[in-house]
């Protein structure tokens, strides 16, 4: 066998280099009855022939392609289905649709068998049927003990053909999806992989885009039904079964169970384009709570059917796969820079894959590790790989070839995959013979053609203040914003303001200004000093805060907070936002500073004046009852698009409620609503002494004002952290 031939050649080459000492040992070993052999002295018999079980392929009248393979090792039957669809065909404003179809097909049960009944039927006999829809395919898998096969096969067919998609299981899937969104920035490795893929393919690409609160909300039961109806048909599907059965009997059984599935559906749409553009970039995502930088490096790659793929596969082994690779040896073993240091040429079947290199290193060696990896990519394109490396990589691939056949399941699944993507059934054998032919020149040629060391997308996620050098040492750095876009629906803004809604909004605005004390009182407001008691509701329970606020509109601020955990001050002096605790003074990170400023700019006093001056757009939305009073709702929007809704009491012009897209340290982006009451007159202004805050409909805090003073003439120094609380 060819595989053995190569091994033998390898042995011969090594034996020639064998030191004399070892050769001597070998001789002694040969004379003595038995001696332990150094691995280099071992010779192996040829591997005995592999008996690949016969595969039966046929097509039902309705177009379903079926693969059957008998395997009597264990009393079980397994199944696998591929259906021609994928999330790459879902609409951009419904990202998540395909995945939810995959979940709810199974969890929701069928027209005749509710999900819970299917759960019981399957699990009571230790069987399983699972479905999912990925980027390029929908799959189902099945496992059952032999004795329960007919029933389990029927359930599989029923789920594929007649899913019920009940509303409650759709809602369960939405909860899961929303939670995944809320949690997607918890794990640094997950952040790095996701954002790297977006950087490589473009964030709107169907191969990279991600679910958002809005895209999940846009998905209805009708969409699930339509998606299923469009793609799930026997003429778009391949079924494989293997295990302890008789092929002829199983063929009849498949006819019985799947024969009535009607043909239908449409061809899948054309595949989305992947732009073959190489624009290197250095990207950074700040993550404060880690001491290790996650680095991803690469660019758009190629397909399995590229003629260069075989050479690239060998290159990939040498560059970054396994213990012998250059990345493992140089970056992990020699430099000790990382636990994870590897890279692969990740080809795909029908669209360009990706060159993916990864190194996770302590913050203090970030730039060093990036340079080490980039150098290895560059070196690949500069000089041929050594004969030794080439030999080792090829032997590794070829000697392990038998493991492509070590379970029946993988043999069947592979044939189904090849058929699905239109590859020849003997693609794996062709791969083997092509790899055998790869030379060092082929690897260099392929590397020069496909690797772009000067156009690498580099992404680092970590704590930049601890890096050995700033990332900018590598070039211009693009900071990636991974903040999670809040759901936009709750703000419910009409797309376009009309002249009427603007005019009516203006009327309400003027009434609100009167309700607060009039234009003059607002314009002469210089500063505000408020002492209040706040009850904060957190995931850990409720606790009380005493908050003293000094505010000079629009944005100078100082807040001194006494909490059960100690005293904290917070402020903005017009230039920088700061926080002061017993541990010292810290400047707030840009994101937090932005949120602090946005919060002040949303205060009704500022909103009303700026809208009045025409700096913000105002429009009337509707009227609504707030706490039993009729209120007109206006939306005030600034240049950035940030919109605040004010609910202005019709009778008094008082602002009863405010709603806007806010931020919770516990839940991230939330829709925040403040209910105002207990209005009192303070030096010509009418202000609420009580404020209850809800975030996403849940109570978040309650604030009671103890004292409220205006225009006391605040010392400007107060807004810098150096001054102690007065």
């Amino acid at each position: 066998m060819a595989e053995e031939l190569i091994t033998w050649r390898g042995k011969k080459a090594r034996r020639m280099r064998m030191p004399l000492l070892l050769a001597g040992l070998l001789l002694v070993g040969a004379l003595g009855a038995a001696a332990q052999k150094h691995y280099k002295e071992l010779t192996y018999p040829p591997l005995r022939d592999l008996q690949v079980p016969p595969v039966e392929r046929f097509e039902l009248a309705n177009g379903l392609v079926v693969y059957l393979v008998e395997d009597h090792t264990l009393p079980e039957v397994e199944g696998y289905v591929r259906v021609r669809t994928g999330s790459r065909f879902e609409p951009a404003d419904q990202v998540g649709l395909a995945s939810i179809v995959g979940q709810v097909m199974r969890s929701g049960g069928t027209a005749t068998r509710p999900g819970e009944e299917i759960n019981r039927l399957l699990e009571n006999v230790g069987a399983s049927v699972e479905t999912s829809v990925g980027t390029t395919v929908a799959t189902a898998s099945m496992f059952t003990l032999k004795e329960n096969l007919p029933q389990v096969l029927e359930i599989l067919a029923d789920i594929l053909e007649n899913p019920a998609f009940p509303e409650d299981k759709l809602e369960l899937a939405r909860v899961q999806e929303r939670t995944a969104i809320a949690r997607r920035n918890d794990d640094v490795g997950q952040i790095a992989n996701r954002e790297f893929t977006k950087l490589v393919y473009g964030k709107e690409s169907p191969y990279a885009r991600q679910t958002e609160y809005d895209t999940i909300r846009n998905i209805t039961r009708e969409d699930l039904v339509a998606f299923h109806g469009r793609y799930f048909h026997p003429n778009q599907a391949i079924l494989g079964l293997w295990g302890d059965f008789d092929t002829a009997e199983m063929r009849a059984e498949v006819e019985r169970v799947f024969g009535s599935w009607p043909r239908g559906g449409e061809e899948v749409p054309p595949l989305p384009e992947v732009p073959q553009e190489w624009a290197g970039s250095i990207n950074f995502i700040p993550k404060d709570d880690v001491n290790q930088t996650n680095v991803r490096i690469g660019h758009v790659g190629g397909r399995f059917d590229d003629p260069d793929y075989f050479a690239l596969n060998v290159m990939s082994e040498i560059l970054g796969s396994g213990f012998s690779s250059r990345l493992f040896r140089h970056v992990r073993s020699d430099l000790g820079l990382a636990y994870a240091a590897f890279g692969t040429w990740n080809a795909a079947y029908d669209y360009p894959g990706v060159l993916y290199l990864r190194v996770d290193t302590k913050s203090e060696t970030t730039v060093q590790a990036i340079e080490a990896v980039v150098n290895e990519v560059r070196r690949m394109t500069q000089e041929p790989v050594s004969a030794e490396e080439l030999r080792m990589a090829k032997e590794g691939i070829l000697n392990s070839f038998v493991f492509n056949f070590d379970t029946t399941g993988e043999v069947v699944r592979r044939l189904m995959i090849y058929e699905y993507y239109g590859y020849p059934p003997d693609f794996l054998e062709r791969f083997k013979s092509n790899v055998e032919k790869v030379t060092a020149e082929d690897v260099l040629w392929a590397a020069r053609r496909w690797l772009r060391p000067e156009d690498l997308v580099i992404l680092a996620v970590g704590r930049e203040q601890d890096f050995d050098q700033p990332l900018s040492a590598l070039g211009n750095v693009n900071t990636v914003d991974i903040s999670i876009p809040p759901p936009s629906s709750q703000a419910a803004m009409p797309a376009e303001a009309t002249p009427e809604s603007r005019a009516r909004g203006r009327e309400v605005l003027e009434r609100a200004i009167e309700g607060m004390g009039g234009l003059e009182a607002l314009r002469s407001l210089r500063d505000v000093t408020v002492l209040s008691k706040v009850t904060q509701v957190t995931p850990q329970g409720e606790f009380e805060l005493i908050v003293k606020t000094h505010w000079q509109p629009p944005v100078k601020l100082r807040q001194d907070v006494v909490s059960p955990f100690g005293e904290v001050s917070l402020g903005y002096d017009g230039e920088r936002a700061w926080q002061k605790s017993p541990r010292g003074v810290q400047e707030l990170p840009p994101q937090q500073e932005e949120r602090l400023l946005a919060a002040m700019r949303r205060s009704p006093e500022v909103l009303l004046l700026e809208a009045y001056e025409g700096e913000r757009e105002v429009q009337y939305l509707e009227s609504e009852t707030v706490n039993g009073s009729e209120a007109d709702v206006i939306a005030i929007t600034d240049e950035s698009g940030d919109t605040v809704k004010l609910y202005v009491e019709q009778e008094t012009g008082r602002i009863l409620k405010r709603g806007f897209q806010g931020w919770s340290p516990f839940a991230g982006p939330v829709y925040e609503e403040n209910l105002y009451s207990d209005f009192r007159a303070v030096s010509g202004l009418t202000v609420p002494f009580k404020q209850v805050t809800f975030q996403d409909g849940k109570k978040a805090s309650e604030q009671t004002v103890q004292s409220y003073e205006v225009n006391v003439g605040l010392d400007p120094e107060l807004f810098s952290p150096e001054v102690a609380e007065p």
Partner: protein, 500 residues
């Protein structure tokens, strides 16, 4: 002791008489050969000749529990070192390398001595010693053939090469085409016969990166470390398996060599081979290659027992992450007769879509996206924990999850589980076993575990009979004795109020 060769298959030719469906113990036993070498090392061979491949699993009965305070992380670091080669693998000139390595040890000892002076350490002297240490490492490095051992395996078609270190055990495994069985004997015996712990301090850095990856940069990793350290007062199950950072920073090559000498003795090693293997030939090779390892010392057993917990313990960890809840109850080790009852409890509470925790917390109350539990954490050899966990759904709290979780646990105490649930647990156990038998490497790992942890690999199968015997009353009894408030440890991962 275990020298009996089972079955008459050997004499009839290999292929002919391997049973088609060896899913019950009697059938499976016919495919098994087991023996113990004179030095105490145990072997289990399972013949499966369908495909010409063999999976190897070396199970060392040593883990993080064998570490003392001060050297936590050593078992795992040694596992890394076991890939560094021997006196004639991984080196270009061992004699010179040996001297160079001694120099590394000496310079490191001198550096440590100066560092330990703390405030009084002389900065200039420190710098000098650091330079000497670096220099010594570079000198030793010139004799290193990097990763030769692993390369030899990969190049010969080895797949799935890896190793893991747990609280109880360290496992080394891979698979080869079956014509290369002798390669495993040669390499695997060499690395436990004459290992050379080269590149120790560099590998220590790699392990520190692993710690950063798995624990320090992972909210869940941090939470588990915190949780275990609160749940245990005395037993080493409470310590960080990957090692406390300061311990890792002070581990030396001498520590690792001493650990190897004491624990990597043949009597602590069990090898399982599953696949296209000829038992006669394998036995000959076992004697030849592993027989050369001397029996070595007998390590003292771990005698520290965890004192009974007498009151609920609670802890929390602040992290930039959404909430996660972990609850643990102390329970006996795997050899306890009630172990099968805990297995049934695990299935009823946490196995699949019909399980109580999934149905209640995930599906109905929508409090969690994942809710589960398992019996036997962080190890199984010694009394351990039954662990429950839930990952809160967006907008839901740990408190809500805890209340619902405790409600389900309480229900086990107050009412009997249904017949259907218990029957299902038994049925699923059987199906799972058959499913596990599908993979050579999976079987190898399971047999090794049962052989060492329970004293007989057959318990992999007998476990089914034990579960079969469990009654609804057993479940209630066990829940009442172990799932008590005073025996409980609760840990919250609390979203860090980082902002505003």
């Amino acid at each position: 002791m275990r020298k009996k060769i089972l079955g008459a298959c050997l004499f009839l030719g290999l292929m002919a008489c391997v049973p088609a469906a060896a899913q019950n113990l009697a059938e499976f036993e016919k495919t098994v050969t087991e023996f113990t070498l004179d030095n105490g090392m145990g072997f289990i061979l399972v013949e499966r000749h369908q495909v010409p491949v063999v999976s190897f699993h070396m199970y060392a009965d040593v883990g993080a529990v064998n570490e003392d305070v001060g050297i936590t992380g050593l078992a795992h670091l040694f596992e890394h070192m076991a890939f560094k080669g021997t006196t004639d693998i991984g080196t270009t000139d061992y004699q010179k390398e040996k001297e160079a390595l001694e120099k590394v040890d000496q310079t490191y000892a001198a550096l440590q001595a100066e560092r330990w002076k703390g405030e009084e350490a002389d900065p200039a002297r420190l710098e000098e010693l650091e330079a000497a240490f670096r220099q010594a490492q570079e000198e030793a490095a010139q004799y290193v053939e990097s990763n030769e051992l692993a390369q030899a395996i990969e190049q010969n078609g080895g797949v799935g090469l890896n190793a893991t270190t747990g609280a109880d055990a360290t496992r080394y495994f891979f698979s080869l085409p079956s014509n290369k069985v002798e390669l495993w004997f040669s390499l695997e015996s060499a690395r436990f016969f004459a290992p050379v712990l080269r590149e120790f301090y560099r590998e220590r850095n790699v392990v520190m990166e692993e710690r950063r990856l798995r624990v320090e940069s992972q909210p869940i990793g941090k939470l588990i470390e915190e949780f275990l350290s609160v749940a245990y007062r005395a037993h080493p199950y409470g310590r960080s398996g990957i090692g406390w950072r300061s311990d890792l920073e002070n581990l030396t090559r001498q520590h690792a060599e001493e650990f190897f000498r004491l624990y990597y003795t043949p009597r602590n090693l069990t090898a399982v081979l599953v696949g296209d293997v000829d038992p006669e030939e394998a036995r000959r090779l076992a004697e030849l290659y592993f027989g050369r390892i001397p029996a070595g010392p007998v390590a003292e057993p771990l005698w520290t027992e965890e004192p009974p917990q007498e009151g609920e313990r609670r802890t929390s960890l602040y992290a930039q992450s959404q909430p996660i809840l972990v609850i643990g109850y102390h329970k006996p080790g795997i050899r306890d007769p009630d172990n099968a009852v805990f297995d049934a409890v695990q299935d009823i509470l946490a196995g699949g879509r019909t399980s109580r925790l999934y149905r209640s917390l995930v599906q109905e109350k929508k409090l969690a996206v994942v809710a589960g539990g398992f019996s036997g954490f962080p190890g199984q050899k010694y009394p351990n924990l039954f662990l429950f966990f839930s990952v809160a759904a967006a907008g839901k709290t740990n408190e809500e999850n805890e209340a619902a979780m405790l409600g389900e646990i309480e229900r086990l105490r107050t009412e009997l589980v249904t017949e259907e649930e218990l029957t299902r647990a038994k049925q699923r156990a059987r199906a799972q076993l058959i499913r596990q038998l599908g993979s050579n490497s999976g079987v190898a790992g399971q047999l090794a575990f049962y052989e060492v942890a329970t004293g007989d690999w057959r318990n992999l199968f007998r476990r089914l009979q034990a579960i079969e015997q469990v009654t609804r009353e057993d479940i209630q009894r066990v829940a009442r004795s172990y799932f008590t408030e005073g025996n409980r440890t609760v840990a919250y991962l609390v979203p860090k109020p980082a902002e505003e």
